[in-house]
Every structure is written in structure tokens, then in C-alpha cells.
């Protein structure tokens, strides 16, 4: 791990409080986290520990109430200095954050290629170039043979691969994976993790996998435990895949 | 770029079909649809021209028989529908005192005859007396010349003779007067007989009683009819023909007649008389049409349709009457020129019963004219020619 390079994401003292006054709940009480390009880290913790809140903050979906966030060395959020640096969070998500969900959540009315190509298209890249990039990713993920298929014709594993391809489509420096293996058996779950690891290396992207899936926890080299709104970093087993 | 999928093709085809159907509907059903017309060629033909009128069956001569003076009807001897002969007694008026007056007249005449006889006797007596006085006077004159008698005596005899002569003349005058009186009484009597004859109502012709208008005992005024008689051989139609269509109406035209009681049976007739005075209120002319061979028992007053045949117009340029339209204040036809309607003003002549009308000018033989259309035509309107606009009856 090249610790001298710029971290893909660095957060310090990130806080999130829901509500105000007596009803206020502190979901995040100062989270620190640093993830480097090419690295896959696990984010684990029990229900209600603030896992999802952290993910939403990282994904620029909800606004934290304090702390500091950097993406590829660039500050995107500073709780002391006016919050989000950009007013266009959607562009931020579109261009710099990839999402993989528990379910694939593909767009059912688009075919496989267009599901992946949609992101570059939304970013303003013309259709042909976007489809070309999509096809490259699909090839890398070994689903190029289903490029013209409808989403509904795909198996669950194939759909998940397409979803991963979509998250990579705009070369985002960071990919947030929310329980990507929950509905899968252990073999397939491990396959997904292996793919994520491969992709992280291949595209030099940082991947944060939120999970409580015991089958895959041993595969992480680094794990952040979140408990009671705070994170604790520890080394993982880093079991080879 | 990938090829469109088969589904997209199918959908596109369906959409295309749908739009084609839509276009067809708009183009054929709505106000944007092309006007459909039927077309005929103007051509020379023989036009059977007819006049049409409504007539009633009437008797040419109808005899209303009634008394010449007011009186009471004594007897009516015939009834409605009876055939009568000329001279037959139909009814009698009550004579009232006529017979008594006749008897008195006869007596007066007889008395006048007797008076004549008596006057003749008186004349004979006066004559003989005059002759005697004359002879006596001549004898005395002779005697005076011979101076056997005095002058006075002779003069007296002359006077006597003159008086007797005057008496004879008076008797002759009385006789003439008596004769006159006898003649007067005789003619009085004859006059009463005539009156008596007038109370007898007799038929003037052989005919049929069409009305019995009074019954015995009722009083009628002079001139009121008691019985009506017609001559059935003189039944004819009184036909009313619209003035606007009466051109050519003349005596002698052959007529087809359909009586209302026998609409299917065509009777032949001819125009016998055209009334010189028309009906100004109804704007009709009146023609009398004989019934050729009348079928019998047709009722007077029965309606009849009369079709009068005018001499046909030979070699007339004609178009169907339905083609003649009016635009503004002009009559004309719509010609079909290169698929478009063109108005041509024409003047028209008579029309035939089968729907052809003569075109006097404005059109040439062989010109195509629009006969029927499903909308009002306008100049230069594009039209579709079809065989018929109305579906034939199944």
C-alpha cells in the first residue's frame, strides 16, 4: 500500500445529528476514516451503529453536521466552513462516487449496455463513446455476452456484475458498496468480493464495502468497525481469494 | 449504432398502419373528404314532354229540374240512380186551385159560345127587319111619285128603313164582340192547361238521376231543383294544371288518366276544351278531358290524375333535370372539367317526365355534367366521380 500517495477519501471527525433540541439523536459522533486508491476496506458494525448514516454522508446524499471530508485530496465538505463545497451534489455523485447496492437496482427499461452507459451519458459524453466504455467494463466484468439483453433476462450474479460495471463507468475515485453480497451464497459472495478487489486494483479506485456478512469479513486487509457512532480501525485477515 | 430490434420494427409498423387508417378516416369521412358526384353526358334525345294535373270527374251537362213558380211538391216519382228517358215524368207539383180555375174557364167559354149564338140570332132578326123597312120605304116612295101618299108618310118610311139598317149593323157588332169574348175564354182555358203541364216535371234527356233534392210536401222556390239528371255519356274530367307548367296546353292532346279508385289502370282520353278563364287565386288553368272508354260506375267528384302528353321535342339537347342547379340568380349546370367542377350558365327548355330537361344554350353535346353530389358544389372544387351515391336497395 503506497501511503505516500493522496488518499482517495479522508474523513475526520465527521458528525451527524438528526433532529434538534431534546429529540436530537447523534448518529455519528466523530468518524475518522482514510481509504487509499486501489484498496478495498470493510465497514462493519451492528444495526443502528450509524453504518447507513455514514454511507449516506459519504455518498453526498445527506449533509453531515460537522467534520471534514476530502476526496482525492480535495475538500468537499467542511463543517466549520459552510458545509458542502459544491452546490451540485448530483454532479459530485455522478462524477466521483460510484454506488453498488444490496440489490442491483438496474433501470429495468434500459438494456445492459445502456444501464452502464447511462452514467457517462448523464455526464455529457456522447452515446457512442459511452456505449464503448460500457462495453469495455462489461468485458472486464465478463458479462459482455449479455450486453444487448434486457435486465430482466439476467441472473442475479450477472445483474450484480452489471451494477459494479455501472459504478465504475465514470472512473469514480471511490465506490460505496452497500451490502453487495447479502442476497448471495458464500461462493458467489466471494466472487463479488474478488471482482471488487480486481476492479479496485485495475482502476485504482477505493472501495468501501458496508457489510455484516461473516463470510466475507476475513477477506478484508483493513476493517473499520463502527460502534456507537465512532469508528475503530483494525487490520483484517486479508485472506487471499 | 445497433440495429432496431424486431419488436421496435413491429411497433413502428403498427403505428404506421394506425396513422394510415387515421389518415384514411379523415380523408374520407369528415369535412375534409372529397365530394362524390355522379356524371352524365349531355346528348340529343327525344323528350317526351308531359303536363300533369289533378282532375275531378264531372258531367259535361247536368240538368237541374225544378218548377217555374214556387209551390209544394206533390210527388217525386224517381230516385237517385234511376235511369230516365226523355219526356219521362219525374215529379209533380201540387196544382192547388188550378183545376177549379180550369172548370170556371170552361164554363166561361161555353157561355161565350152561347152569347155568340144569341147575337147571331139578333143579327138575323135585325136584317130581316131592315129588309122589310127598306121594301116598305121603296114602295112608299113609288106611291109618293104617283102622289098616292103624302110626303110625310113617305119620309117616315125612309126613316124607318134607315133605323132598321142601323139596328142590323149594331147586331153585327154585338156578334163580333161575342165572338171575341168566346175566343178569350177559350185561350184562358188553354193557358190554364199549360200551367197545369208545367207542374209536371219531365226529363229533357235520356239520363240518370243524380240527386233527389226535395221530397213530396216540401215547398220549393222558383228555380230550386227538385231532381238532378245528368247524361252519363257526357262525363269528363275537369283538370287543374299549374299555370307555371301549362305551356303547350291545347285541345286534342292525348291524356293518360288514373282514377283514384283504380290507380293502376290507365284510361285514355283527350283534351276536349281548355277554359279561357283560369283560376286566378289558385294560379291554375282548367282543361276538360274526355274519358275515352269509361269503365262505368265512376263517381262524380272522384279524383283523377291526368298526364297530358305534349308533342315530343325531337332531337333536343338534354341533361338530367337533377343537374340543373342555381348559383346566385342564374340557372346552370356544373360541368366536369379535368376532375374539377365548373359552373356553366344555361337556359333550359321543357322537361320530360322521366327527368330529362332540354338545354337551349350554354352547353354542347358530349359535355360531361355533374348530376348528383353529396354536398353543395363550389367553383373549381375537386370531385370524385362514382357510379352511384346511394347504395342500391338489396
Amino acid at each position: 500500500m503506497d501511503k505516500t500517495s493522496i488518499p482517495a477519501i479522508r474523513i475526520e471527525g465527521l458528525m451527524k445529528r438528526y433532529g434538534t433540541g431534546d429529540a436530537a439523536v447523534d448518529a455519528l459522533k466523530g468518524v475518522d476514516m482514510t481509504v487509499w486508491p486501489g484498496e478495498v476496506v470493510g465497514l462493519i458494525g451492528p444495526s443502528g451503529s450509524g453504518k447507513t448514516t455514514l454511507l449516506k454522508c459519504l455518498g453526498a446524499v445527506i449533509e453531515p453536521t460537522g467534520g471534514h471530508m476530502q476526496l482525492s485530496g480535495e475538500t468537499i465538505y467542511d463543517g466549520k466552513d459552510g458545509g458542502w463545497r459544491t452546490g451540485d451534489l448530483r454532479a459530485l455523485r455522478r462524477d466521483r462516487i460510484g454506488f453498488v447496492f444490496q440489490a442491483p437496482y438496474l433501470i429495468p427499461f434500459l438494456d445492459v449496455t445502456d444501464n452502464v452507459a447511462l452514467l457517462p451519458m448523464l455526464a455529457g459524453i456522447d452515446n457512442a463513446a459511452a456505449r464503448k466504455r460500457a462495453l469495455e467494463l462489461l468485458t472486464a466484468l465478463d458479462v459482455a455476452h449479455r450486453a444487448g439483453a434486457q435486465v430482466s433476462q439476467l441472473s442475479g450474479g450477472e445483474q450484480q456484475r452489471v451494477a459494479i460495471a455501472r459504478s465504475l463507468a465514470n472512473h469514480a475515485p471511490i465506490i460505496l458498496a452497500d451490502e453487495p453480497t447479502a442476497p448471495l451464497d458464500s461462493e458467489r459472495a466471494l466472487t463479488v468480493i474478488r471482482i471488487l478487489n480486481d476492479m479496485a486494483v485495475q482502476y485504482q479506485t477505493a472501495i468501501i464495502v458496508v457489510t455484516h456478512d461473516e463470510k466475507i469479513i476475513p477477506t478484508f486487509k483493513r476493517i473499520y468497525h463502527i460502534r456507537d457512532g465512532r469508528t475503530h480501525e483494525e487490520a483484517g485477515e486479508g485472506r487471499p481469494l | 449504432m445497433k440495429l432496431p430490434s424486431r419488436r421496435a420494427l413491429a411497433l413502428g409498423l403498427a403505428a404506421l398502419l394506425f396513422l394510415a387508417g387515421f389518415g384514411w378516416l379523415v380523408a374520407t369521412q369528415g369535412p375534409l373528404a372529397r365530394v362524390k358526384v355522379t356524371v352524365a353526358k349531355a346528348g340529343e334525345t327525344t323528350l317526351d314532354r308531359t303536363l300533369f294535373g289533378i282532375g275531378t270527374v264531372e258531367a259535361r251537362r247536368s240538368y237541374a229540374i225544378g218548377p217555374t213558380v214556387a209551390g209544394r211538391v206533390a210527388a217525386v216519382l224517381v230516385d237517385h240512380g234511376e235511369a230516365v228517358t226523355a219526356g219521362q215524368l219525374l215529379a209533380e207539383m201540387d196544382p192547388v186551385d188550378l183545376e177549379a180555375r180550369q172548370a170556371a174557364g170552361s164554363a166561361t167559354a161555353a157561355r161565350a159560345g152561347q152569347l155568340v149564338a144569341s147575337a147571331q140570332a139578333a143579327l138575323a132578326e135585325a136584317g130581316s127587319r131592315a129588309r122589310l123597312a127598306q121594301a116598305s120605304s121603296e114602295r112608299y116612295a113609288d106611291l109618293r111619285r104617283k102622289s098616292f101618299v103624302s110626303q110625310e108618310a113617305a119620309d117616315a118610311k125612309v126613316h124607318e128603313a134607315a133605323a132598321a139598317q142601323a139596328g142590323q149593323e149594331a147586331a153585327a157588332a154585338a156578334l163580333a164582340a161575342a165572338k171575341d169574348e168566346a175566343r178569350r175564354a177559350q185561350s184562358d182555358l188553354a193557358g190554364l192547361g199549360k200551367s197545369r203541364a208545367h207542374l209536371r216535371l219531365v226529363s229533357p234527356v235520356d239520363g240518370i238521376v243524380t240527386a233527389r233534392l226535395a221530397e213530396p210536401g216540401s215547398t220549393v222556390v222558383a228555380g230550386q231543383s227538385v231532381v238532378q239528371v245528368i247524361d252519363p255519356a257526357t262525363l269528363w274530367l275537369r283538370v287543374r294544371i299549374d299555370q307555371g307548367r301549362s305551356a303547350g296546353l291545347a285541345v286534342g292532346l292525348p291524356v293518360d288518366i288514373a282514377l283514384r279508385s283504380r290507380p293502376g289502370q290507365m284510361l285514355k282520353g283527350r283534351v276536349e276544351r281548355v277554359d279561357l278563364v283560369g283560376d286566378a287565386v289558385a294560379e291554375e288553368r282548367i282543361a276538360n278531358v274526355s274519358l275515352g272508354e269509361a269503365p262505368g260506375n265512376q263517381a262524380i267528384g272522384e279524383l283523377a290524375e291526368a298526364t297530358l302528353h305534349l308533342p315530343p321535342a325531337a332531337k333536343a339537347l338534354a341533361v338530367p333535370a337533377a343537374a340543373v342547379k342555381r348559383v346566385g340568380t342564374e340557372n346552370g349546370v356544373w360541368r366536369l372539367v379535368e376532375g374539377r367542377a365548373r359552373f356553366a350558365a344555361v337556359s333550359t327548355g321543357p322537361a320530360s317526365a322521366d327527368g330529362m330537361v332540354q338545354v337551349l344554350n350554354g352547353l354542347a353535346a358530349g359535355d360531361a355534367v355533374i348530376v348528383h353530389s353529396n354536398r353543395t358544389l363550389t367553383p373549381d372544387l375537386r370531385v370524385n366521380v362514382v357510379d352511384t351515391l346511394v347504395k342500391a336497395a338489396p
Binding site: R90, I107 | G30, R245, R375
Partner: protein, 400 residues
């Protein structure tokens, strides 16, 4: 950028199409309603246009001959024909009556027209079959709506008439087919009574001592003959010279002939504004309600369609799709639905319009207006759905 709306429509085209067709039928009903209204107005309009008159002269103080009964002497035309500007006059009699045909009674308007010359005022402007009336009596031209055939004989009151010609769109203001007969026959139809009425009338006259006096033979007959005469018509139709001012001639007739005269404009006002005012308002009301219902249904359909895509919209938002993109998708779908609906509706209305018993007139202008309104309604209706879509939280895609 690919068209998301189009892709969505193509993906669920069956559902979309059926929804569109359903909406289309509703729009078809609305268009038909407008067509019925236009048809009513047109019925009045053709009545005016087809009579071929520039002026209608009727009884003083009436709105005749169509909207009110009017009765004038049939020689009144002689006085009118002499006025300056008058080209031609024609007597006309109108009466609405039941006519029996093929065992069924149907309503028809019998029109008495002058037939002595072709194309007198009041005669039908065009025929679709047969010929004009050529004989002076007992021939008739019928509108196709009356379902008579050429050559058929139809009994009207005391006489049988032969149908010699057929015409189209010659209807009364209430849409009844017209049957054109010669004027004299129409007068007879209108004023001469049936046998029983005649006998009763005769008996009534005979019982009146003023008309049946002893010693005056012929008086009763004369009175009865006078009673049976029918020398009235309903209107005199006047055609004007090309350069005559209708209002001036009408004023002349009103002032000096002591009759009412209406110009074409006034007649239109009577027929369209007065005679069918209530029924047309009724239909207009229904039209408004139908439009509102259509709008509500479109809004509802599009709203439901949007709600069915909450998850997709949340994902789209999460991966960075702009509001404009999402709103555009919904709007395009709404307009697409409206487009299908409109075409289906216009097609449906066009298909079922000829089946209506009365005239349904689908004007291209109305269709265009309808199209604009449908599109506007769809756009408006999509606003609700767009607001709902924009309120979807992209966070819904993450976790739960």
C-alpha cells in the same frame, strides 16, 4: 443521451398502449360530444343554407317559420316580388309530422316548395339520386335519413307520393329528415283534414242556423267549400338581386307589407342562438365536465405511472441524473400518452360518428383545438407527477 421516456414506453409498451387506448376512448367521447354540438349548429345552418333564400318573410310578430308557427296568405308573394332588389320569391310550407314507413313511424319535416320552375327557393340544393320534382303533384324528394328508396310510394295524410329523388343533409333544425313535396300538396297536408274531421266540420257547419237557412239554397255548400280552402303558406322565401342590400329590402317589407322579414344573419341568430340554445348549453356543460374528467384521469394515470417508478427515479437521482432529465421523462411520457389518446380518440370518434342517429360534425379545427387541449391537459397533469418525482429522496436507494 438516450431518451429515457421512449425507452420506458417501449419497455412497457403493452401497458402504455392500453392505457393510451383507454384514454383515447374517453377523448373520443369528448370529441364526439363536441361533434354533436357542432352537428346541432350545423343542422340549423344547413336549414338556412339549403333553402336558398336571402330573406324569409313570415307573419308579423313571429319568429317563423322554423322557430314559431307562421301563417300568411299564399298570394302575399305578388306584393313582394315587385319590390326593388327582389329577384325571385317562392312560397314555402313547413310542417313536422310523423310519417309511417316500413311499419315504423318516424319524424320528418314536410316541406312544400314551388315546382313550376327548376330550383325555386326552398327546393333542395343538390340531389344524391333521382331527379327533381317535375309533376305538379304527388312527387316527393326525401332526405336519405328518412330511409326511403327511389320509386317508393309513401302515404302522407290523404295521398300517396312517389319518391323521385334523394338528397342529403337536408334536415330540420332538430335534425329530422326533410321530405320535399309540391306546395299545393303541402298546403293540403297542412290544412285539409282527415275524413272524420271533414265530416264533423261539415256537420258542425250544417248545425249552425246562420249557415243553413231555409230559403237560401246553396249557402251551406258555399260555406263548406270556403272552409275547405287552404290558401295559406308558412313563409315566403325571397331571393335578392346580387347587389341588393338584404337589410334594406327586409326593412321595406317590414314597414310597408306589414310582415316580418328576416335576413340570413337574423335567421341564423334565431336558429342557432334561440332555437337550440338550451340544448347546446346542455352539451357544452357536458363537454366541460368531460374535459375535467379527462384531465383528472390523465393526471391520475401519469401520477400512478410515476409512483410505480419510485425506485428507478431514486437510483437515477443517486447516480446523478438531473431533475430536468427526470421531469423531461415524465412530461414526455404524459405527452406520448396524450398523443396516442388523441389519435385513438379521433379515430374512434370518426368511426362511430356515422352510427349516431343525428348528425355528428367533426371539424378539423375542433380536432386541432382538441389536440392542443389534450396536450395541455397532459402537460398540466404531469406537473403533479413531476412534483412527486422530485420529492423522492435519492437516499431511498441506499439501505432502508
Amino acid at each position: 443521451m438516450i431518451n429515457l421516456a421512449g425507452r420506458d414506453i417501449l419497455h412497457g409498451w403493452g401497458k402504455f398502449l392500453f392505457t393510451g387506448v383507454g384514454l383515447g376512448l374517453l377523448i373520443g367521447v369528448t370529441l364526439s360530444m363536441a361533434g354533436i354540438y357542432r352537428g346541432m349548429v350545423d343542422d340549423g345552418q344547413v336549414l338556412i343554407d339549403n333553402s336558398g333564400a336571402d330573406l324569409w318573410v313570415v307573419q308579423q310578430g313571429t319568429l317563423g317559420p322554423y322557430a314559431e308557427p307562421s301563417s300568411i296568405r299564399d298570394d302575399v308573394w305578388r306584393g313582394i316580388a315587385g319590390l326593388p332588389g327582389v329577384a325571385e320569391t317562392g312560397n314555402a310550407a313547413y310542417l313536422t309530422m310523423q310519417i309511417e314507413h316500413a311499419g315504423k313511424e318516424s319524424r320528418a319535416m314536410v316541406v312544400g316548395m314551388e315546382v313550376d320552375r327548376p330550383n325555386r327557393p326552398g327546393a333542395p340544393a343538390y340531389l344524391t339520386a333521382g331527379r327533381p320534382v317535375l309533376a305538379g303533384h304527388y312527387e316527393a324528394i326525401a332526405d336519405e335519413l328518412a330511409k326511403f328508396k327511389l320509386g317508393e310510394r309513401v302515404r302522407i295524410r290523404r295521398h300517396e307520393y312517389e319518391i323521385v329523388g334523394l338528397t342529403r343533409r337536408m334536415v330540420s333544425s332538430s335534425g329530422d329528415p326533410m321530405i320535399f313535396v309540391p306546395l299545393k300538396d303541402a298546403q293540403e297536408i297542412q290544412f285539409l283534414k282527415d275524413n272524420d274531421a271533414l265530416l264533423n266540420e261539415r256537420a258542425r257547419t250544417a248545425a249552425n242556423p246562420a249557415f243553413n237557412r231555409p230559403g237560401v239554397p246553396g249557402l251551406l255548400e258555399a260555406v263548406q267549400a270556403a272552409n275547405a280552402q287552404s290558401r295559406m303558406v308558412n313563409a315566403v322565401l325571397v331571393r335578392l338581386e346580387a347587389n341588393a342590400d338584404p337589410e334594406a329590402v327586409a326593412a321595406e317589407i317590414r314597414r310597408w307589407k306589414r310582415l316580418q322579414a328576416y335576413t340570413k344573419v337574423q335567421m341564423e341568430d334565431i336558429l342557432v342562438a334561440k332555437l337550440i340554445a338550451t340544448s347546446s348549453r346542455q352539451i357544452a356543460m357536458f363537454l366541460v365536465i368531460l374535459s375535467v374528467v379527462t384531465a383528472a384521469i390523465v393526471a391520475f394515470i401519469i401520477y400512478t405511472m410515476t409512483l410505480a417508478k419510485v425506485r428507478e427515479i431514486a437510483v437515477l437521482k443517486l447516480i446523478g441524473a438531473r431533475n430536468r432529465t427526470i421531469a423531461g421523462m415524465i412530461l414526455q411520457q404524459a405527452l406520448g400518452l396524450g398523443l396516442i389518446g388523441f389519435f385513438v380518440g379521433r379515430l374512434a370518434a370518426g368511426l362511430w360518428a356515422p352510427v349516431f342517429p343525428k348528425y355528428v360534425l367533426l371539424l378539423p379545427g375542433d380536432a386541432l383545438r382538441g389536440f392542443a387541449i389534450v396536450m395541455a391537459i397532459c402537460a398540466l397533469a404531469s406537473v403533479v407527477a413531476i412534483r412527486a418525482a422530485l420529492a423522492i429522496d435519492p437516499a431511498e436507494a441506499i439501505g432502508g
